[in-house]
Symmetry: C2
Subunit: 468 residues, 2 copies
Amino acid sequence: MNAFLQACRAAIGAAHVLTEPADTAGYLTDQRGRYTGRAVAVLRPADTAETAAIVRLCAQYRVPVVPQGGNTGLVLGSVPDQGGTAAVLSLRRLNRIRAVDPVNNTMTVEAGCVLQTVQQEAAAAARLFPLSLAAEGSCTIGGNLSTNAGGTGVLRYGNTRELCLGLEVVTAQGEVMSSLKGLRKDNTGYDLRDLFIGAEGTLGVITAAVLKLFPQPRAQVTALAALKTPAQALRLLNLAQSRCGPALTGFELMSDFCLQLVAKHFTDQRPPFAQRHAQYVLLELSDSESEEHARGIFEDVIGNALEQGIIDDAVIASSIAQSKSLWQLRENISMAQAHEGKNIKHDISVPISRIAEFIEVTDKLVQQASPACRMVTFGHLGDGNLHYNVSPPEGVADTEFIRQQHAINLVVHDSVDRFGGSISAEHGLGALKREEITRYKSPVELALMRTIKQALDPHNLMNPGKVI
Amino acid sequence: MNAFLQACRAAIGAAHVLTEPADTAGYLTDQRGRYTGRAVAVLRPADTAETAAIVRLCAQYRVPVVPQGGNTGLVLGSVPDQGGTAAVLSLRRLNRIRAVDPVNNTMTVEAGCVLQTVQQEAAAAARLFPLSLAAEGSCTIGGNLSTNAGGTGVLRYGNTRELCLGLEVVTAQGEVMSSLKGLRKDNTGYDLRDLFIGAEGTLGVITAAVLKLFPQPRAQVTALAALKTPAQALRLLNLAQSRCGPALTGFELMSDFCLQLVAKHFTDQRPPFAQRHAQYVLLELSDSESEEHARGIFEDVIGNALEQGIIDDAVIASSIAQSKSLWQLRENISMAQAHEGKNIKHDISVPISRIAEFIEVTDKLVQQASPACRMVTFGHLGDGNLHYNVSPPEGVADTEFIRQQHAINLVVHDSVDRFGGSISAEHGLGALKREEITRYKSPVELALMRTIKQALDPHNLMNPGKVI
């Protein structure tokens, strides 16, 4: 192992080969603090050539590689296992914006760029990079690509996959595949790009990408609607999409209990209605015309929805401040739930048309399995994606409750499967769901995945123990 | 071979194992009539199970498989070679619409459904399936997916790849991968879907797909702008995108010579301007509000463009009939060029920001290589995709001119390469560009493609001689 570390020092400089516990600690524990792995070193190359050199050394010395961006993942995809033989390959120093082309509406960035920086650089060129998610201040675009991150803009702009036109990748053999052309159309062979996107670093290391940019909307308007059931929320979605078309950029469902939790732990934050309602939907409209025009459309949608008895009440934010406070209700749910204590999280999707029935059926099953537990159901209804979380019953210690995690996961995920859904809509598999997915994915798909993994990474050195 | 055919007859019925020349002829010659291959039989299974049975027999007897949809491809991807040992696997009998889900905005269709049928079924459910291209009356959705077809709606809706949420595929081993969940988000492993999309049948056979549907726009308005240069067209694109956002659904460039050809061969079809202009742009706006609103936006865009000197004249279609006649100018260019005689076609893309310079530079190079030849340049400017076609000089016999095809391809494609572009933007590689691509694609990418092909189809039976 000393020879390997010596060679790494020669390749990227001794200062960037971290082996002291004080230096490596921040790279070994996952974001939620649930797991700490061990590594032979944390390697911090400066650029693509150094990254390739490191991967070649790892191949030569048969050292497993764990690529890592901002280490904000939720499924233990970016931390090493307990073996202590792996090297963490941190991409954070690859943080250059290589090019911005506002006419081509593209931006070429290195993997270690923080998502918020990418958003800001796009805005500086009067363009929009629409990927937006809770960890945007610290997650990196390489991690976003490797996990095909979702977030709140998927309804209109798609997942990270849809926002990428090309990649630069270091293969498991340490070769550089540079495909950074930034073309909207290129039908010259297999879609290698989408194979590396979402592969969570198990097929190669993404070092740079060409991202799609969009015109900035002239106005963004937010509304909050109060209604009785997820089924009514679906009717509202249909109405809003038909009236707004692609201008509808956000559609988030939140149950009353979610907002009670927010109000409890953030005392100034509560829905702006005189009475409580069973469900709420946050809508966002991005308009290329004007604020007045956007408000007109929302007034129309809300007027229609009230008339048809789909919703019971609604507000349209009258200022940026009010819009922000409506979004805070949504964004603080996870934090409020964490303040309330440990809980069991699910990141699931089902066909949008089945989501209301899914909630009804699964709520009952969970209550049978764990009576009086509290459902914290919210998420990207417009994408069929719910964060279907479960908190312990009032008064039950969360450590005791967490013991039921496996049983409750099984109830929820079996139900997801019966509804034709996915047990990981936007977080990926990582190490956390790698075993579990074998229960739900068909043998043919699993075999194809193994064949591809074996072909591209025959020595199983790229993020082993993750995904497959 | 008799044993193989006997087994095929047992599997799908003798009536669907075609071996008589009169029966097989329509499956062996490509759409443009340039090439006729040979096959041991044309096999027409009725459904996915029969397709899998056929592929298993082909694997067992080592018979190469050439999957075929509507056989409208332009790169010899769907016809067999001269060997006479391959079987054409026609998917046309797999033509059921399995499901339409307007709430999930999805439609599950079999590979043999004709694109126009898919469009019509979507419309019957008050939804839009936006893929649209010249061959839509006879091409099949399986072929569209296998070639990742483009067309006129890519600017807003993306290529076929972006319109698909899931696939059913028969693997090279004759197993069925069924992944027809219709989810907007599913991060549970490698993106097998996008690997089969665009693989031109070389990795497996697509038998069904879940397609994305969209709300139907309330109004569609067409405009034609007259301007001086492709560079001005780019300025117009930027202006229109910033004003229209995603409502801008079409942006097609046509040179004056293109429209002269149309006027010559379709005498009633000419641009509605008093004088000739060097370039024209066809714009389409799809509005979720109203025709009046859409016209207002276009008037605004055109007013601004006139004021800024970007365009010299413009009309907004005042009726559906006028809108159709503007679109006919664009759609009849290929036909007019064919009436004019044989020509050399290129389907290229470059970054949108470089397209004006590309045309200027490449026009000169082509003129040096073949003086006085006539450039027929038109296409999807909003996607950076040009049909950069070349007709012989006035008075030169086209057969003589066609002898220069290889030399002119080299000039054009080398220039595309220098501009960071693609030599096949939307048509694929097939057999036609399979050799040529090795000149332009990096060794690392080609090696990755070969590794994947070898892993998924180790006996090289799936559409051999195509793509790779």
